[in-house]
Each structure stands twice: as C-alpha cells, then as structure tokens.
C-alpha cells in the first residue's frame, strides 16, 4: 500500500519538476510561460485566447498521438515487471509497423480478416524482436540493454529494406494499404470533427485491460512477477524462469509491435521508410516509469506524453523551439530515475511537517518499514 502511494507521489513530483524546469528554461530563454499553457489548452481542446471554440478534432488528434505511447509504455512496463529493461521498444515498433503493412499489402484476405491478420502480423514481428534479447538473456545471460539497442537499428534498416522492396513502393513509402486492412474509422473520425481517431483505440483499450489482468489476475502473471522480483525464489518455487523471461520479452515486443501496427494501419495507411528513430519506443520508457508500471498510471502517462507531442508544433508556431517538449520529457525521466533522492526529499519534508505538528513523536514514525 505504502509503496504504491509513494510511487505515485514520485511520479507526480517528477512530472511537476519536469514541467517546472521546462518553464524555467522557457523564461530564461526569454519566452513567456503562457506559451506553454496556451499550447496545452490548444492541444487538448483546440481553444485559443482568440478563438475560444472547443474543437473535438484536437482532442481526437491528441488521443491519436497518445495511443502508440500507451502501448509502448505497456511494453516497457511489462518487461520491467519480469526484471527486464526493454529499451528495444523502438525497434519492435518499427518491425511491427513493417510486418503489418507487408501483410496488408501482400496477403489479400476477405473483410475483417484482413485487418485482423495485419494487426496480428505487427504483434508477431514485435514479439520476434523481443524474443531475441529474451532468449539471449535467459540462455546466455547476455545483458538485454545492449542487444535491444542494436536491434533498434537493425530493425529500422531491415524494415526499410523490406518496405522499399514491396511492389509499388517509392524510396520513402509503400503504396496505400487496401481499405480492408485499415484501422481508420469514419465513425470515430466523425465523432471527433474529422480527426484521425481510429479503431486502434479498441486495441489499446484491450491491451491495457490485458496488461492489468495478466499481471494481477492470472497464475502466469503471478510467476512473471515473481521472476521479476526474485529469480532465485522463482526457481526455487519451480517456476520456469527462463521461459518467463523469454515470454515476457515477447509479450513486451508484441505490445510495441502493435503500437507500430496501429500507426501504420490506423494513421498513415501505408508503410513508411524511416530515416531515423521516431522515439515512440523511447518515449514508452518515460511512459512506463512515470506511470509507475500500473495500468491506469500508464494510460495517464501516455496521455501526458501524447499531449507533449501535439504541443510541439503549436509551440513552434509561436517561435518557441519545439524541442522544449523533448527537454521536458527527458527531465521527467531523469527525475523518475532519481526516485531515491526524491523519496529521501519527500520523507524529509514529511518529517519536517511532523516535527512542526508534534515535535515529540518524530523518532518513532521516521522509518516506517
């Protein structure tokens, strides 16, 4: 109990400090802090000081930007629950995006089967990209971090090569996928004043639920968590820890692959040849940590980082370098990394509060274990 509340506190403090530092940087660089607030307002609602009209399209777009981040956040978090640091979500995202497009373009299937197969292909490719570090970790004790980083690059080049080789592809993109494989939704788009909101939202909702359900309600999740906390104890208890490590990396990879798939099938409706990382996976690290590995927390953190993303061009329009949002995200991650320090600070502050309130009882309440 205590642990959860303090994780929440650490996240809130980190987000607060990150935004504060962002504001300070803005002010020091000679911009008005209002720029940030206006961008938040506009990104969420489309409202500006001149045009106070609520525009559902902005809200829809904001959700569109958040959806892949929630998935990559779940991906990083799922691996972390089994003691793995999945810095490879970026690569899993790209191979997922690639595979979903390959199936969408090359495998003609009737009706809804087409889109299902395409989405699953994305998940499978991501799972494969997670399988490699998982296997190397469990069977050769190779640190997953370096493997994941290298696979990010390899994933990008491999996807680029495959996408360019598809029939009809140009150097920068594939042909548009058949509409039967698309996740685009006229209904959702109509609901949100022509935003690009797509059926991927259902996939994300399902994944959020599945994340919570698997980890907390199933015996499989039980053994994954046990492996993550204490591999020796899990071994002792007869759990298949090696298999758990591989499976959890595969599931993590599948989640990131799904993120790639919904972007390709829902937002772009084509495969894209990338010249560099788009940071969906790296932002997932931030989302997972800020969300404290909790399903709801990850959704909220995903929305936060989605907001930072939609804000960027809006800030740039007022002359503020759009990189301010990257700086803010990075600071948030840095503060989450410093949680030991933040915890220390929080306990000190609390102790001080207690001292003021009732000076005598401090010693006993200091280290609640």
């Amino acid at each position: 109990m205590n642990n959860k509340t303090s994780a929440l506190k650490v996240s809130l403090v980190s987000v607060g400090l990150g935004l504060l530092l962002g504001l300070i940087i803005l002010v020091v660089s000679g911009y008005s802090p209002m720029v940030l607030f206006n961008a938040i307002l506009r990104g969420l609602t489309g409202m500006t000081t001149q045009r106070p009209v609520f525009n559902l399209r902005n809200t829809g777009e904001f959700i569109v930007f958040s959806l892949p981040l929630i998935l990559t956040g779940l991906s990083v978090a799922f691996a972390y629950k089994t003691g793995m640091f999945n810095i490879g979500a970026e690569g899993q995202f790209m191979v997922g995006a690639c595979a979903s497009v390959v199936v969408a373009i090359l495998v003609p299937l009737p009706g809804i089967l087409h889109v299902i197969a395409s989405v699953l292909a994305g998940a499978l490719a991501g799972a494969l990209w997670g399988f490699i570090p998982g296997l190397l970790k469990s069977n050769f004790k190779i640190n997953e971090v370096v493997v994941c980083i290298m696979l990010n690059y390899f994933g990008m080049y491999l996807s680029n090569f495959i996408l360019k080789s598809l029939p009809g592809s140009s150097i920068s993109k594939t042909v548009v996928i058949p509409s039967s494989a698309s996740l685009s939704s006229e209904f959702l788009s109509g609901l949100t004043n022509h935003s690009r909101l797509h059926w991927g939202i259902l996939i994300v909702a399902f994944c959020v639920f599945a994340y919570w359900f698997i980890l907390n309600k199933t015996s499989f999740g039980f053994s994954l968590r046990a492996t993550g906390h204490n591999e020796y104890a899990a071994d002792y208890a007869g759990m298949k820890t090696k298999r758990n490590v591989v499976l959890s990396m595969m599931i993590a990879g599948a989640l990131a692959g799904l993120a790639g798939a919904i972007m390709s099938l829902g937002v772009f409706n084509m495969g894209r040849v990338l010249s560099g990382f788009e940071n969906y996976g790296f932002d997932g690290i931030a989302v997972a940590f800020v969300g404290a590995f909790n399903a709801i927390g990850i959704v909220l953190a995903g929305l936060l980082f989605g907001l930072l993303k939609v804000m960027a061009p809006l800030m740039q329009a007022t002359g503020v370098p759009k990189e301010i949002n990257e700086i803010i995200s990075a600071f948030i991650v840095l503060f989450v990394a410093m949680q030991y320090g933040i915890r220390l600070l929080l306990t000190k502050l609390e102790a001080r509060k207690h001292k003021k309130a009732k000076p005598k009882t401090l010693e006993t309440s200091k280290e609640g274990k």
Binding site: M1, K217, T218, A233
Partner: protein
C-alpha cells in the same frame, strides 16, 4: 596492562535493528581475544566499526590508548589495524599481488607507476616468512579457498598490521588448514601482534584465545578468561540459558524408506565435482541430519535433491521413483517439501504480499487457480488459515508486504507453506539461522512434530548442536564425500567433529 584496542559502549543501529547495544571490548596487547555469539549477535558489525566500515551510533574507540574521532579504513590501516572479512574481499580477476597491494601500492616515479617487482619481492618474503607458499602472480580465481585466506592474511601483514581481526576464519577451512591457521595466529602473537578472533567454535577459542567476550542479540554479556572457563559455561553465556538443548522428543519410529540417494555426483559450473558418489537414505518418521563444514558440498547436495542443480550421476529415489531428471515443480508434486537455506534469496519473494508467498509453488494449481486465473477468495482464505495455524505475525495480516516482516515470522511463513502442502519428504536447510531462541524452539518443535506424523525429514545445518539435537541418524559430508552415516545415539559432538574434518567412520571405510 596496555590495551591495543578499547571499544567502549559501542552502539550501532540499523534501520529496524540494534546490531550492537552498548558493547565494551578491550583487547590486551599481544594477546588473542575471541568474540563469541550466535548468528546475528552483532560480531561482524562490531568489527566493521573497529575497522571503520561503519560509523557507530554512539561509543568510543581507543587504539593504543588514544581516542579515535572518526575511524575509516584508511585510518585503521594507518593505525596498523587489519581485518580478514567473513566473506573474502578479493577481486577474482586480479592477481594475488594486485589484491595485496591494492590501496597501498609501491610506486616507481612521479607518474605513480606501480612497482610490481618490489611488491612481488615483498610478498614473496612475507609469504616465506610465514610458510605460506603463495604465488604473487596467480589469479585469485585460480587458487583454493585456503590459499585465498592466506592472501587475506598477507594483505594485513603487508601493511604491517599489528592489530589483526579475523572474522570467522575457520568456517571455510579444512581441519588441516584450521590447524595451520591456529599455528599462524600463535606465531603472530609471539611476534607481538594482537588478535581479535570471531568464531562459533568453542574448541578453537579454547585452543588459542586468552580472553573471550560474549555477545547475545547485540548485547554485551561478559568477558571471561578462557583458561578458567569451561566450554559449557561459555556456551551457556552465548545462548542465554542452559545448553542442555535436549529437545523433548520421543524415540523415532521409522518406517519405509522415502528418500534413497545412490552414488550421487554433482558438478559445479566449471565441471568440478563437488558431491562425490554420495549415498544415504531417509525413512518415514525419522530425521536424518546432514553435517559438515560449510563449503564441503552440502549445499550442492541439497540443490541436487531439490532440482535446482543437475546431478551428473547417480539416483535420487523418492518413494522408489527416480526423480533425478524431474523438474522442481514435478518434485514438489511428487511430495517433496523444501525449506531453503536463505529465506531472503530463495524462500520468499520479499516484494510480494504474505498471501502471495504462501502459494509460491502452488499458485497455478487448483484450487488457487482455475484455467490459469487466480482465485483470490480461496487464496485469501488459505492465507488466513495458515496465519492462524502457524501464528505468523505481521502488521497487516495476509496483505503485509513480506519485506516488512521480521526474520522469525518470515521463516514461520515458509514453514507454514511447506508443511501445509504435507509433503512426504521435507528438506530442511538451516531452518533457524539468525533467529532468536523463541523462534528456534518453535521451529524445532514443529520439525519433530512432522517426524512424529510420519514424515521423512532431511535436516541440513552448519550448527552441529542443531543436528545433534534433532537428528535420529546423521550423515556427514567432507569434501563432497560421505565420511559417516550413523545413529545419533552411537555418536557425540567430538566424533562428528572428526568425521566433518575428513576422518572416516569405520563402517564407511570398510564399505568401499
């Protein structure tokens, strides 16, 4: 009489525990002073404070009569205090010489280039002076444990230490090496050095020490003159009551053989044979004690039985069925229970709730899971039942974070979990390490109760008294081999000690 070291009224608090509570210790110049106490009594902590690794919460340290304001390892070294740690602090990939000179390296020039020649020469000299015979250029990973300890001692001698701290130096040594070490210590004292010796073994204290300070659960009990104090007297002071530990236990009523181990061999990762052709059996309704000096293969033997390590040869028959190639889970299902030696490392997931730890092996079985989905109500019920039955105490009952529970209650939780599955064979490993007397009594009582209920129990402990108190038969391991397998009634502390040192019981010698 001059004192080399005086530690006055030392108190050290760790979060949640007072490891040292107002302890005073005086080491006379040129003498050997033993420090005696049960596991967790605070001996290592006290020595770490003397060496400056920890700062005491309160208290005064004097060295050669001078008060030391704030001790740190550098100052300790300057004051010629040296320490051989309970767990060796040697860097495996470094050479012997590099380990010895680390922190006090001879250098050639302004660039601080290490003068390895001088270092090697000095180490060679020292090593010859004490008959150590170590090769300065050998890698630590390539030399034996006994040799490693000599390196630790050389580290001190290299720094001209004249106050030497030995923290349980004999736990990892063979009897021959122990004898050597005792000779070395005597020689060091003759040269005018003063020694603080930590050990659990009263015999060793009797044979080398001049004085002995006894600690119990962090508190100072007494300092006695070793010559005029008998072993039973010291033992009584150590545990706080009469050592007549005989547990109220009826004679065993053994029935059919449950566990039959035949010619078992176990190899470690580097393919070295750790357990050699080991055979013994455990019958229903008896406790078999597995005795041996730490590091002689008993842990590996247990791991092989529990399925955590592969046996390279031999048979493990559980109720007549060979389980050598079974997974851990299959072994549990076939009726094995296992109370592991390290409750924090193996026994529990400390970040799980108590109720989760109580189903650590059976989480996927009915009734706790149906179709892979955990049945929370049943899990809760089960937890409440065990907590009641075994009197496991914690802040928030079944919802307590296991990490927040005390060691004794953590151990109770493990025992509750294992006994509740009512296994035919119970592997019990170091069940009372670091526990207080009350907890020990409860757990011992429980183990005997299981025996009386017709369970087969294999008890491994480094504490010989525990073995002697509980066992009906005792199997002794030395260097991976069986040196004795005898009835408890036909042996005593002294004999077992001999077998642990490698001497073979007459039947065992004739056997082969």
């Amino acid at each position: 009489m001059a004192y080399a070291v005086e530690m006055l009224n030392i108190t050290k608090e760790f979060p949640g525990i007072k490891a040292n509570d107002n302890i005073t210790l005086r080491l006379k110049e040129g003498s050997i002073h033993a420090l005696l106490g049960e596991n967790g009594a605070g001996k290592s902590t006290l020595m770490s404070i003397l060496f400056g690794l920890y700062q005491p919460t309160s208290g005064v340290i004097k060295v050669h009569g001078e008060t030391i304001k704030e001790m740190d390892p550098n100052l300790a070294t300057e004051l010629k205090i040296g320490m051989v740690h309970q767990h060796f602090k040697l860097i495996e990939s470094f050479t012997v010489a590099e380990n010895i000179i680390l922190g006090d390296e001879p250098v050639k020039n302004k660039m601080n280039v290490i003068d390895i020649k001088t270092a090697n020469r000095k180490i060679k000299e020292l090593s010859e002076q004490y008959g150590f015979n170590v090769d300065p250029n050998a890698k630590i990973s390539d030399i034996s444990v006994g040799m490693q300890q000599k390196v630790e001692i050389l580290k001190m001698l290299y720094r001209d230490a004249n106050i030497l701290i030995f923290d349980e130096p004999t736990a990892v040594l063979t009897p021959q090496e122990i004898d050597d070490l005792i000779e070395i210590m005597k020689r060091l004292v003759k040269e005018g050095k003063s020694i603080l010796l930590i050990t659990h073994k009263l015999i060793e204290i009797k044979s080398v020490a001049d004085e002995c300070t006894i600690l119990r659960r962090g508190k100072y009990i007494d300092t006695v003159d070793v010559k005029t104090t008998s072993i039973p007297e010291m033992a009584e002071m150590m545990v706080g009551r009469n050592v007549n530990f005989t547990i109220d236990k009826k004679p065993a009523n053994p029935k059919e053989v449950i566990l039959d181990v035949k010619n078992l061999c176990v190899e470690n990762e580097s393919k070295k044979q750790i357990v050699k052709d080991f055979s013994f059996d455990v019958r229903a309704g008896e406790i078999v004690g597995l005795a041996g000096v730490d590091g002689n293969g008993q842990s590996e033997l247990i791991y092989a039985l529990a399925g955590l390590m592969k046996a390279s040869k031999g048979e493990i028959l559980l109720c007549g069925e060979d389980i050598r190639n079974c997974s851990v889970k299959e072994r549990f299902d076939k009726g094995m229970g296992h109370i592991p030696e390290d409750r924090h490392k193996y026994g529990l997931v400390l970040d799980f709730l108590l109720k989760e730890n109580l189903i650590l092996q059976s989480y996927a079985d009915a009734p706790y899971a149906k179709h892979g989905i955990l049945q929370m109500d049943i899990i809760d019920e089960h937890a409440n039942k065990l907590i009641d039955e075994f009197d496991v105490r914690s802040g928030e009952g079944k919802e307590s974070l296991t990490r927040s529970m005390s060691g004794g209650n953590q151990q109770k939780a493990i025992i509750a979990r294992e006994l509740d599955r009512s296994p035919k064979l119970l592997l019990v490993v170091q069940p009372t390490r670091g526990l207080d007397v009350g907890a020990i009594e409860y757990i011992h009582g429980r183990i005997v109760e299981e025996r009386d209920n017709g369970k087969a129990v294999l008890l491994m402990s480094l504490d010989l008294d525990e073995i002697l108190d509980l066992s009906d038969r005792i199997v002794v391991i030395h260097d991976g081999e069986r040196t004795a397998f005898i009835d408890r009634d036909k042996t005593d502390f002294k004999d077992i000690g001999l077998y642990m040192a490698g001497e073979k019981h007459k039947e065992d010698t004739t056997h082969e």
